[in-house]
Symmetry: C2
Subunit: 207 residues, 2 copies
DNA sequence: TAGATTGTTAATCGATTAACAATC
DNA sequence: TAGATTGTTAATCGATTAACAATC
């Protein structure tokens, strides 16, 4: 089945499955089933089987799935079986926290490029790598063929930064700035805004 | 229409609308339309009108919506017209970054309680408020009637922390730990894991 | 009045789930 | 063999969109 024929909502669940499988693997569990996974994730077993069926047959009737091989298959499908280098723009508290976050390493990503516009920050080292000027984004990212970037600037500069990243050939942006950015069709954007999640839950709270 | 009759997916878009309206308001724009909002957000105008229609009539034919009053209406609907106090458990780099983040203040939330299990951190002040022991979660959150919490601990302790929070009467959890936690039906959980977003986008990248 | 935009209906589209034959 | 679980089909369910009367 062609890459573009598979619903994006299915793609969105694959990383969740992968995360759960990795955890099972760490716990030393060798076999699992769509029922067990579903119960753990709050997803129906039928949905898990249907989702996986878009990509092939990974299970064994009567038994279930081998945790290691399904995990490995999902890594291949998601393109995270090797490590992507990632650029980070905006070195504030959040940017630094992400730079120090150990959770990227074994899940397919490593932040290798840091950019900021503040002359006081440029030249400072993070994880041994110097922070560079946003003016050099195009040059550096093209040189190293970087395809993924994270934006952790204030909302006011996020669109401008996005424009520079796109000019530099970036194809995937994780945007922490609380604003929707406009990008060409071939560039993907994911958003992280904690307040969106909080407000969504506040709706259901008694006041 | 009753609270529970409205699809959660609709609720999930309201904070996006509110965020865009707040921005328009800051820019001094007084009137907008479902078409303008939709174009900005990448959502169809029909969907925006349909979503809003669950809650009443907020526009004027031929004109559109008054930015200030629609914004205010959405704040009321979402229950963020007053400020919620929020507890934060896990004071690592990410916890500190959230504690210093200025973006909660005018969107309905303020972090007022900090917890950690590390004796070296307990007693330290953040924003003038001391970090307290996770052992005092139940006591402190019940005393102050806190309903919302954020978890920024490692995955290993997230479920245990969630259990404590639920025991303390918390009804909404924003979970930054990369693990699905199990909670009773009356408790809502939202997840933030940057790697999930990165992996989802990696699928579409050429390798 | 002419133009624009809402709120709403009905049609379309797509996602989820129930059920089961196949089979380990 | 009996029990369990997959992969898949068809039915159900729900969400999105097109279209338009109402009306500012």
């Amino acid at each position: 089945m062609a890459r573009s024929d598979i619903p994006d909502i299915v793609i969105g669940r694959l990383p969740i499955y992968l995360r759960a499988l990795t955890r099972l693997q760490q716990d030393g569990q060798e076999i699992t089933s769509s029922h067990e996974l579903g119960k753990q994730l709050g997803i129906s077993s039928a949905q898990i089987r249907k989702d996986l069926s878009h990509f092939g047959e990974f299970g064994k009737q009567g038994t279930g799935y081998n945790v290691a091989s399904l995990s490995s298959a999902l890594q291949q499908i998601l393109n995270v079986h090797h490590e992507w280098q990632v650029a980070l723009v905006g070195i504030g508290d959040l940017g630094r926290a992400l730079a120090h976050y150990g959770g990227f390493a074994h899940r397919g990503f490593r932040i290798t490029h840091f950019f900021d516009s503040d002359p006081h920050k440029i030249g400072q080292a993070i994880n041994g790598t110097p922070i560079e000027s946003v003016d050099s984004i195009a040059e550096k990212l093209r040189r190293d063929n970087i395809k993924i970037a994270m934006i952790t600037t204030p909302a006011e500069t996020a669109q401008e930064v996005a424009d520079r990243l796109i000019e530099a050939g970036i194809k995937a942006i994780l945007n922490y700035a609380p604003i929707v950015i406009s990008v060409p069709d071939e560039v993907r954007v994911q958003y992280i805004d904690p307040v969106i999640g909080l407000q969504r839950m506040a709706y259901y709270l008694e006041d």
